[in-house]
């Protein structure tokens, strides 16, 4: 397949889920683990659509859970690729929940997942690049490098003192 650079927003996918009883704890709010499962699935679908290969999760960045999501709520996950690094993709996921009784209330959550595309022998293969079209996507594209350094440090593959771009934010 020949290289064909496409725009960030063309990789966007949407996924909706209804919060079922089995997804909730005894206060009737969604388990964090179930939301992470949906996030990973949304990211996988996004990555899979872009590459047409089997894709596997390489890492997930820190996620902070904000407002609780309730039984019966409809959870919408939007995912798109922010940047491609040769054989890996950083995917941005945005979660919104619509409360079943109060229509106007919208909560939100975001996360960054990194996926790798594999061939049938389970070896990483090159991913088609994407480019940011608008200002916001450009900001995510640029930040991807900094987040990548943080991941490498946290995985013990880079020394903090070598993470030049990341270090700059501490000053």
């Amino acid at each position: 397949m020949e290289e064909k650079k496409i725009a960030t927003q063309s990789t966007k996918i949407s996924m909706s889920e209804m919060v079922m009883p089995n997804d909730t704890n005894n206060l009737n709010t969604l388990f964090g683990g179930k939301l992470m499962y949906w996030m990973d699935m949304a990211a996988a679908i996004c990555a899979h659509k872009h590459t047409s290969n089997v894709v596997v999760t390489a890492s997930v960045d820190n996620i902070t859970f904000k407002a609780p999501i309730h039984k019966g709520d409809i959870v919408t996950l939007n995912a798109f690729i922010t940047r491609v690094f040769n054989t890996s993709m950083e995917i941005f996921i945005e979660v919104t929940a619509q409360n079943s009784n109060k229509k106007e209330k919208i909560e939100s959550n975001t996360a960054f997942f990194t996926f790798v595309a594999l061939n049938q022998k389970s070896k990483p293969i090159k991913v088609n690049e994407i480019y940011p079209e608008n200002k916001n996507d450009k900001k995510l594209f640029d930040g991807a490098l900094r987040r990548r350094q943080l991941r490498l440090i946290l995985a013990g593959k880079m020394k903090p003192k070598d993470a030049n771009e990341l270090k700059s934010i501490f000053n």
Copy 2:
């Protein structure tokens, strides 16, 4: 319930799962999202046992997925509390997988989850403290403060320049 400080290792729980067909992709390896779901469940069980209250996931730190886990493998998750911060707990999770054909091969993965205990009105309540007994647990206990600063920065609740303990590792 009166305060009763207990040792880190007394909070340890173990959970085993067998990797089923529905947990895998087309290369027959475990979905990252499913492993995160199990990690969160193990952490929730650990936190729940310690507090006897409903517990919810507040955040999960960066997770890097190393070796693939295969269909039929047995995944064992060990979880224990590393440190209590008033109403929240940091929980360390260690994942090992035993390949169904090659007995000796053991892969591993680790993660830190933060949980909050809630009362019946969904308000955070104080969690009984724990103390580290051995050298390794002491190291995890001490590092908890640094990881907490990183979480606060990533959640936008602390400025990088104020994260004194964290900054030190970049020099």
Copy 3:
């Protein structure tokens, strides 16, 4: 809540699913019943978002399953409301499947579901109207009356000879 007429395309929702082993038969193709379950869920999410009430399936029109969908394929369901009949909504669902190996191949399936909105006493309540913006939505809006007559006949609530609009297509 005051009446506020909104456009057909504003009610549109999207849902993506990956075909798992448990969703398939021994030829590794998706069960019809699982696809119907997803269709109903997509329609329910669409209807629920529009009304902010509990919604229940009143009927589903004839569905013909065309091309088989395979294990690992990504199924995308788009649903929107075509017409509101006082307390009921007709919802159009379009299904496309992306084969995991052959990126270009897109199969498709469509269906019409009818949903009713209920209050907390399980009584039907009025649904906000929608209007068609473009030519295609106008065609679906107009056809809704004919399909409604066919449903009433098939449910034994209308005599074929009284279905004036429907009869016309047989001549």
Copy 4:
């Protein structure tokens, strides 16, 4: 396997399910999509038992959902083949629900599914014929032709004006 014509009622199978929390909406009544899933599974089991081949859903006729079915209710699905059309079978499904508190209350729902039998190369194969034994089965057998015409029209494979048997019911 040699041809052996068997009676309609010999193809009958029965399936019982208990309505679980995850099968219900916020009014504690069964999702239409879950009932359709069970109907398709009952029809598939019936078709599979008759042919000993992999069977796939070709189409489902209009279904109208009557009375709501509640959490904890026991749903019984009876399915049998009404008529064989070379490589396809029309299957009639009758659903009854027993309310867990009021023993006497029995609700009901019916549907027609069409299945096709496939060989290991996914090609349709001939299905053994069945014959109606009693008056009711004879009526279903005769009506199968009319329903088949309606399906072909709705799938766009027949023009309404050519559906002679179906047209007659409008006069």
Copy 5:
């Protein structure tokens, strides 16, 4: 509700399941635990239909698993009450599996479950008696007393030397 003695065979229910990938091990045969789950569900449905109360499993007798059941097989479970002991019911379950390729092959398994009916305060309540109509049901009815003694011994509620009926089979 007044007492109304009904015949054993009138309590019979049937349940069919298709063996899915997630129900099987790496040799593609059904997990014993999944079959036990289905057996318990069939017995619960049978007991529930007879009493119209919530029913809970009190005990299950020794089960020996004979022939393996394969992926894609259709498993049929027939269950009926053999005898009522005031607030408890002994239920006989017979399992047959039809291999998806070889139509004629029928394997079988049997088990005895004991259920108790509970009122809304979770207290055991009296169950309507049943009577055996035919020779086989009479044999099961008589044997129920002996099996009950064995259960009481195994649960530590009866001393072996007091189990007169059971002792007789050892001589």
Copy 6:
């Protein structure tokens, strides 16, 4: 793989589950069948870890369900091998449940499962022996012979009068 006798307690595994809504009946207590499913899974994981082969359930002894387990409770299952009989293993399972509100309350249940290890041709293969280290494990090891006789009688493979060890407990 060479024979290497290991101690009973080295085969021990632990599994924790949280009781979800779908695992419960209308009194919010755990289904017996679900607990049996978890018991079988815990036993399978234990047997699988010991042999590194596919293992299948050969039989389960009588189980008596004592105290009800509630929604939200954490169920812990500990399993270890009590004795090896050439190609089969007897596994002891102990279940404890921690009530989510009353920390101190611990209920318990026990069971014996027998598993067989199979090679890739589904033929039974020899299992490495285990030996009891402490008094309690020795007692379980000795009792295994008696329980095995009872199983053989109940499966119709041994005549009661030949079960010498078992007979002795009736006098």
